[in-house]
């Protein structure tokens, strides 16, 4: 009986117990979960801003503003806000709120800090990965360095910035 190719994983405890993972290329689930949180955060903040504007307008002019989700101006405003949110976060610290939560970070493809230009290019190229029927994300699953299309275009990669082994030891010490 021969072992299947995919079974060639090292035996013993799970990888987060054995390795720190810090600096290794991040996997699909962590990246997707971080992105989902970011979409939620950016949408939530945008809705709050719209509600604040509506409230201010009612107080100042006495008129109600009805926002239509399909309104091109609303869509454009959200696009500008989302661009600012992602580009600024990646340029400033290499991570958005969702990425900070899941312990992942955007870096230059050689592992050094990503530049502001790379952050902007990455943000502009991100929709392209969706527009190609999601094929832009296949690289995360199949690539040796787990890079999506927007990573390749911007010259970036996403790594774990979180020390799994230290977290495990911290947990055991509190035990």
């Amino acid at each position: 009986m021969t072992a299947r190719a995919g079974d060639a994983t090292p035996s013993g405890p799970p990888i987060i117990v054995r390795e720190s993972l810090q600096g290794k290329y991040s996997g699909f689930a962590s990246r997707f979960a971080a992105f989902a949180v970011d979409v939620g955060v950016s949408l939530g903040v945008f809705m709050l801003a719209l509600a604040a504007i509506t409230f201010a307008a009612r107080v100042l002019t006495g008129k109600n503003i009805a926002w239509n989700k399909g309104d091109p101006w609303v869509i454009l405003a959200y696009a500008v806000w989302a661009f600012s949110y992602f580009a600024y976060s990646w340029a400033a610290s290499g991570r958005t709120a969702g990425m900070a939560l899941f312990g992942v970070r955007v870096v230059r493809d050689d592992g050094t800090d990503a530049s502001g230009r790379q952050a902007v290019v990455r943000t502009l190229a991100l929709p392209l990965s969706f527009l190609l029927l999601g094929l832009g994300f296949v690289g995360i699953l199949l690539g040796d360095r787990r890079r999506a299309l927007h990573d390749v275009i911007a010259g970036t990669a996403v790594i774990y910035s979180w020390d799994a082994r230290a977290a495990r030891l911290r947990f055991l010490s509190r035990g």
Binding site: A5, G6, T9, G27, S30, F102, R145, A157, I159, R168
Partner: protein, 133 residues
Amino acid sequence: MNGRLGPSMEALAQAVAQRAVEIVVSALDVNALLDRVDLNAVLDQVDIGQVLDRIDLNGIVERIDVEALVEQTDLGAIIARSSSGVASDVLDVVRSQTVGLDEFIARWIARLRRRPYTGPPGPPDGLHARAGS
């Protein structure tokens, strides 16, 4: 004569008494004695209410400087430390679960591609060099 014999008789009497006590104590079965004592009956005779009435609890509490005690205890730091500990634990659990899912997906992809999987790739060369320097 009486004056000379007095001290020696007294010492002899003391030695005899000590020896007698030792013999009695060694012969005594303390466990058997305790078995025969009805502790419940003894406790029934103690009026705890009366004992407590004689203790001035308010007086004792008044003598404790609670404010000084609180001032000496950095409650804010304790609360902050315990809250940050809980938050850190939750964060670690969330990240661990997600990394587990990362590994599960990666292992299945490797299985479908009939390639061995030895863990997440990396780190990038630049990061490796920086860590080594």
